[in-house]
Amino acid sequence: MYFGILKRDLKRKKTMNTILLIFMVLSVMFVSSSVNTMLSVMSATDKFFEISGVKDYFVATIGTKAEEDLNDKLSALSYVDSIKSEKIFYLTESSVKYNGRFIDLSSTGLLNSVDDIGIKIYDDNKKELTKVNDGEIYIKRSIMENNNIPVGGKITVKSGGYTGVFTVKGIMLDAVFGSDMMGTPRFIISRKDFDKFVQSSTDEKYDMYKGFIYNIETSDTDKVGNVVSDISGVAFTGTKDMLKTTYIFDMIIAGIFLIVSVCLIIISIVLLRFTIGFTISEEYREIGVMKAIGIKNSRIRTLYMVKYLAMALVGAVTGFFAGIPFGNMMTEQSSKNFVTGDNQSYLVNFLCALAVLLVIGLFTWWSTRKVRKFTPVDAIRSGESGKRYKKKGLLSLSKGHSRPVFFMAFNDILSGFRHFAVMSVTFVIGILMITIMLNTISTLQSPKLLGWFSMAECDLALEDKENTEKYNSPNGQRLRTEYVKKMEKTLADKGIPAHCFAETLFKYSIQSGENKSVTLSFIGSNSTTDMYTYIEGTPPENVNEIAVSHIIAERLKVNIGDTVTVKVGNEEKEFIISALYQSMNNMGEGLRFNEKVEIDFSEALGYFSYQIKYTDNPSADEIQSRRETIEKLYPDYIVRNAGEYVDYSISGVSGMLSDTKNFVVMIVMLINILLVVLMEKSFITKERGEIALMKAIGFKNRTLILWQTLRVAIIMAAAVLIAVLLTDPASQLAVGGIFKIMGSKYIIFDTNVLEAYIIYPIAVFAVTVLASLMSALGIRSISSQEVNNIE
């Protein structure tokens, strides 16, 4: 008999049962794919480093002088377990050409032989790359994307005494040099091709193009670091942990997916809780009838438990399979630059499906608990006993002047918010997912971020790709300062009042007592230290003062007022720390000299773009016109505004951020559409009688469709408002931690108000309301005679 009841129930309440089943499938799908994504994202860098065989410490040397010294010193250390060295060739900005133009490397590049490389590298299909054919080359994703180099494109590579033409075979995933923060891009060619570079560069004049990378296995990276800091010819060093942090942008994207995953799990639980509660409340009348004819509470409860668990089982199996492609899609999107082995664990999917099954069981048990308390009459009255009727209408039509349709929409929401709670929570979470992500992205692309890159704010940045070598001399500072002053005069002659300045980068060792670090060091040309942003203290106004990043201060255990020793060239100089700042260069490490400090620019590691800051307050049109003038004045330079410069500095991330943005918006819209369509269908099913009554008393279809749609629109509008209000604290909570890893002590999110709070919410609002409108069209099929379905 009970089986018969179940069978008829499933058939008779086809719409509601189908809706519930779809929600169950979605829940299993979301939970299993989200948990898989979370597991993958949380350990992505660890897994990538582990399977790539990245060693504890690495050193890159330039020239041939450091080789012997380093080998001798490192092999003598008891805490160094193994050293693997790779021969490399350095590539400058004028080394690689595609279609007759130098490609943008962002920084100095490296050329390696596939047979010589000290770690495992992977192709775009995440398969280990062990062989490269002669004449072929593999390069980093961002280099290909930023320079529009297609697979199969021919590039010309020149280093030392050899120039070769190579066919781009594909993207290479490289744990050590593959991150977007790691400016140095690596190019991989065959052993035979590499040997051609070696054989053609035996002359001493080519030594500056040669170098080594040492992959060191050690139990004490600090001690190795101290030893290496004393050796000249070291271009850069790093620990495995520091390398991991260079994946910060990937981690931010992964972090966004982590947030998306957590949100999807919350949405799934909310969906299940409310849908089960909602559908069981629909069963009260039948529960009452069963109680009235003498069926025991336990039997009634079991009946519904069996029904919901049977549906949950179907949902779990379907969701298990549906979750696999969805999870793969999420994991792929979240870890484009990582190789993490198997993306999907079927065991995880199975356990998630099982967990959802249990949760459904619990929710059903919880929702049917009232069965015990109800008298048959209470149940027939939909769970409300005659003496305890709750006041439903909170608003009054008689007290206002609003149109009935608006009044009814508001009144329904306020009277039965429980029914709209699932939509409200989902909409708020969805909009938050978008606004948090957009705020993160606009913060990463904000001109304000210049300060984080150890630069002063400016209006334009002019990149000189080919002529910076002229400053590689002891009087480089004077030459550079003269050049930017000349630039100021040229601009003034064209009626552009501006302050021009430039930043030069060095790598120096800084020490306080036993604590030592090799760090990026900055000095400005024609700038003053008060133009930069500090988080504590005062700018280093005197030559014996410096500012250090708070990461360096923490590492050296020093603070403002303490004295540190910096090895500038061969001279050890003492400086008093006058200020602390935050930086995203080199994972927050850095120091800034007063501009009057005498430094030999032949030791310079790099030159940042010339910066132009207008001294008046030009209009937007004027800014554009000035840019055009400057582009004509300096045709060899790449001119970027501050926003473009930041975007360029985080090259490779912009595309990924944009993909992530589109993916998350698509997910949110899909969830909203699914939810609204299903909820609207269930509302229409539940309110069929009332809709018929309203038709009977003369309400038109379009009025009723508007009424149903308005409710969703009101909930959506409220959700947008709530989400906008919650965005900042939620962003701090969700993404602030990731920024801290980047070296930021505090973060003020840069909000693109138009995009984050207007365009995207309106787009989601429009799509959601449109979905609601389309679903509400089902009202047209309800006849006024169905008034007899009213409960």
């Binding site: 409300e384 005659g386 009727y389 709750k390 006041k391 439903k392 209408g393 009054s396 039509l397 008689s398 002047h401 149109r403 009935p404 349709v405 009044f407 009814m408 009144n411 329904d412 009277s415 039965g416 009688g689 009332e690 009554l693 309203m694 038709k695 009977a696 008393i697 003369g698 309400f699 038109k700 279809n701 379009r702 009025t703 006849s783 006024s784 005679q785 008034v787 007899n788 009213i790």
Partner: protein, 251 residues
């Protein structure tokens, strides 16, 4: 006397499981302005279908229905809805109301929705109060519909049907769910409304209710089998006379 409702050769057929079910077969009748007409007949004879079809709530298979000179069979769904809102009132056997609205808001709703009702919002509210006062339910104005008795609720439904001052009120078993005393109270109110000039067409099983109408149509198997005019002024005689006629009809 002006005919407010004129029905000619009205047919209604339902197809269930590929079988045709002719519920109304060439029904013709009329209702004059100011009349109170009862439709009686055995269960399944097509009484309610007739009421819903002539009021435009249900479509017809064939025939014509003219309401106040308008051929409703040719009206579009939206025009029919407007007609129901502004010129017709409905009372159902069950006291159907919107759960989330108070009793007064339920009554006021059609008035606020009407675009041709010339009264201002304030006047509509006043008229709503007046109606509720007249029907003795003003004290439950702000109550939830779950908080009042069936009789009170049915009187609220009558108020709702009256709020736009309709030309005709259609009532489907308006006393069917009420006890005798509530039933009498509701009929008293309907008679008063009719006396004030509103035409009423109702479906009932109750001869006592039908006896209070001016005319009774008896329907069997989708056809009007007979028509009875209540001419007696004494209510007891009127009931007796109607009962005799109903017996003749096979009631």
């Amino acid at each position: 006397m002006k005919k407010i409702l004129e029905v000619n050769e009205l047919c209604k057929t339902y197809v269930i499981n590929k079988r045709q079910n002719n519920v109304l077969r060439n029904v013709s009748f009329f209702v004059n302005e100011g009349e109170m007409v009862a439709v009686m007949g055995p269960s399944g004879s097509g009484k309610s279908t007739l009421l819903y079809t002539v009021s435009g709530m249900d479509s017809m298979t064939a025939g014509e229905v003219e309401f106040d000179g308008k051929n409703i069979s040719k009206l579009k769904p939206d025009d029919l809805a407007e007609l129901r809102l502004d010129e017709m009132g409905f009372i159902f056997q069950q006291m159907y109301m919107l759960k989330n609205l108070s009793v007064m808001d339920n009554i006021l709703l059609p008035a606020r929705q009407s675009k041709i009702n010339p009264m201002t919002s304030k006047e509509k509210l006043e008229y709503c109060r007046e109606l509720m006062h007249k029907l003795g339910i003003i004290e439950i104005a702000d109550n939830d519909i779950n908080e009042v008795s069936g009789g009170q609720l049915q009187r609220a439904c009558i108020c709702r049907s009256m709020i736009n001052k309709p030309k005709v009120i259609f009532a489907d078993e308006p006393t069917g769910a009420l006890n005798r005393s509530s039933s009498d109270e509701v009929m008293d109110e309907l008679c008063k409304i009719n006396a004030e000039g509103t035409t009423i067409m109702l479906v009932t099983h109750d001869a006592k209710v039908a006896a209070r109408c001016t005319r009774v149509l008896y329907i069997v198997d989708g056809n009007i089998k007979g028509e009875y005019n209540n001419t007696e002024s004494d209510m007891r005689k009127r009931e007796r006379s109607l009962n005799n006629w109903l017996l003749e009809m096979g009631w």
